[in-house]
Amino acid sequence: MSEMSRMKFYCDEDRCIECFACSVACSEAHELPTGISRRKVITLNEGKESLEYSLSIACMHCTDAPCEQVCPVDCFYIREDGIVLHDKETCIGCGYCLYACPFGAPQFPRDGAFGAKGAMDKCTMCAGGPLETNSSHERHMYGQNRIAEGKVPLCAAVCSTNALLVGDSQRVSQVYRTRVLSRGHNHIATPKAWKSAYGS
């Protein structure tokens, strides 16, 4: 797998204005049930002057995805372009991926027998699932497959300040580096969990 084809999200913490457009657009586009939100906007150091900043987070499509390592039924697969996806028909809703995930990305609708956890749901980077691409079955299970249509994932497409970057990791880091070089980087508090998403 060449580094050139590695897909990544990155949220520019200096640009995110906490408008929640990404989160709302995602939930609407993929017709997610209430209570499931693949993309969330979080605010760090809330209320602390000059330290407060917001970020949009979802599944970070980690390089050595811990969810994929712990799944007892092996329902995860990592595409050649690095997008971490899973098969909902194989998933048993045990919750192990959530325990392994540094970002709290996997979520479980309680639609199983007796209110048990159903199949896990998480961000697919708008790349659908293992079913036939753009079939109605795929859309119903995993939401839109915008990647297959050559479109940008909806969250990044609607980001009004272009804070949420997505694409080939080299390009994403190039864009971000250019921004930081011209305006500086104003946030020192980088969560350790980033290591898992972006390598060390």
Partner: protein, 297 residues
């Protein structure tokens, strides 16, 4: 009465599970992300990932194949103990004992295979079959919940450690030879006691950790006051549940082997309540002496 409280606890837990403020995806999400692998944290995310990805499955496989293999060799080389069924029979298990044991036995016969199926979920291809096993695992827990406390109470006194237990462990219960020497043991031998404690105290921990994982998204102020986040509680529960699972699986298979194969006809005592006199005289010699002294035979 106890049953009523259990139902009440389950209902309150269920209502917690549907509480609006999520303990995982709500405002706790940020401290959880920041705490992940941070210095001074418990590193449970990393630990769980390492253990589940690398160690748990091979250890379960080792137990699942290793324990029966050892017993197969034991059966072939040393063979089963055969006691006379012509002598008197001694009444050892009351109707209550047997009823509680039966409920627990049914729950274990459901819990253990379904648990093993989940551990080797990829072998079974996941999907509907493993999902059904997961649901059976959850439902059959209720049978264990109602039997574990009565079992703990009805046998606790006889399960307390005695000096016989050390002697029993030194000779491994006399199972390494076919001689019919009197074995130092009371009503229950050290092996049975081990199984009892893993089943009852371990079983209660299994129920608690299992329930935590089943309900997943709830918040107990007590746990939060210990400084343990909900996600770390889940990680710790999964680790503990798996490690105790090794012991339960190994001792469950041992229990089956002893009652069905190693001591011919031993299983009948838990069905009828009566043990063969010779079996008691040899395998539970201290208990037999005591019965003789009390003129109960």
């Amino acid at each position: 009465m106890r049953f009523k409280y259990i139902i009440l606890i389950l209902i309150s837990l269920a209502s917690l599970a549907f509480a609006s403020e999520s303990a995982i995806f709500g405002k706790d999400l940020i401290p959880n992300i920041l705490a992940y692998d941070k210095e001074g944290s418990l590193h449970l995310g990393k630990w769980f990932t390492l253990l589940q990805s690398t160690y748990f499955k091979p250890i379960f496989l080792g137990v699942l194949l290793g324990v029966p293999a050892v017993f197969f060799i034991h059966y072939k080389i040393i063979g089963p103990m055969i006691f006379s069924h012509d002598r008197k029979k001694i009444y050892v298990f009351s109707v209550f004992n047997r009823a509680i044991h039966t409920i627990a036995a049914i729950s274990f016969m459901l819990l253990i295979p379904t648990g093993v199926v989940m551990v080797f979920g990829d072998f079974f291809g996941g999907g509907e079959f493993v999902r059904i096993n997961k649901d059976i695992h959850a439902i059959s827990t209720l049978l264990f919940v109602i039997s574990v406390i009565p079992m703990l109470m009805m046998w606790f006194k006889e399960m307390l450690p005695t000096s016989d237990d050390i002697k029993w462990l030194m000779i491994l219960g006399g199972y390494l030879n076919k001689r019919k020497d009197p074995i130092p043991a009371g009503k229950f031998n050290a092996g049975q006691k081990m199984w009892f404690y893993v089943c009852t105290f371990g079983g209660i921990i299994m129920i608690a950790t299992g329930a935590i994982m089943f309900f997943q998204d709830f918040k107990f102020d007590f746990i939060a006051s210990l400084g343990l986040s909900q996600i770390d509680l889940l990680r710790a529960s999964a680790i503990v549940h798996n490690i105790l699972g090794f012991a339960v699986l190994a001792l469950f298979m041992t229990h089956i082997y002893m009652s069905v194969f190693a001591i011919k006809g031993a299983i009948h005592s838990i069905l009828t309540g009566y043990k063969e006199e010779e079996e008691v005289e040899i395998l539970h010699s201290s208990f037999y002496k005591k019965l003789n002294k009390d003129k109960k035979i």
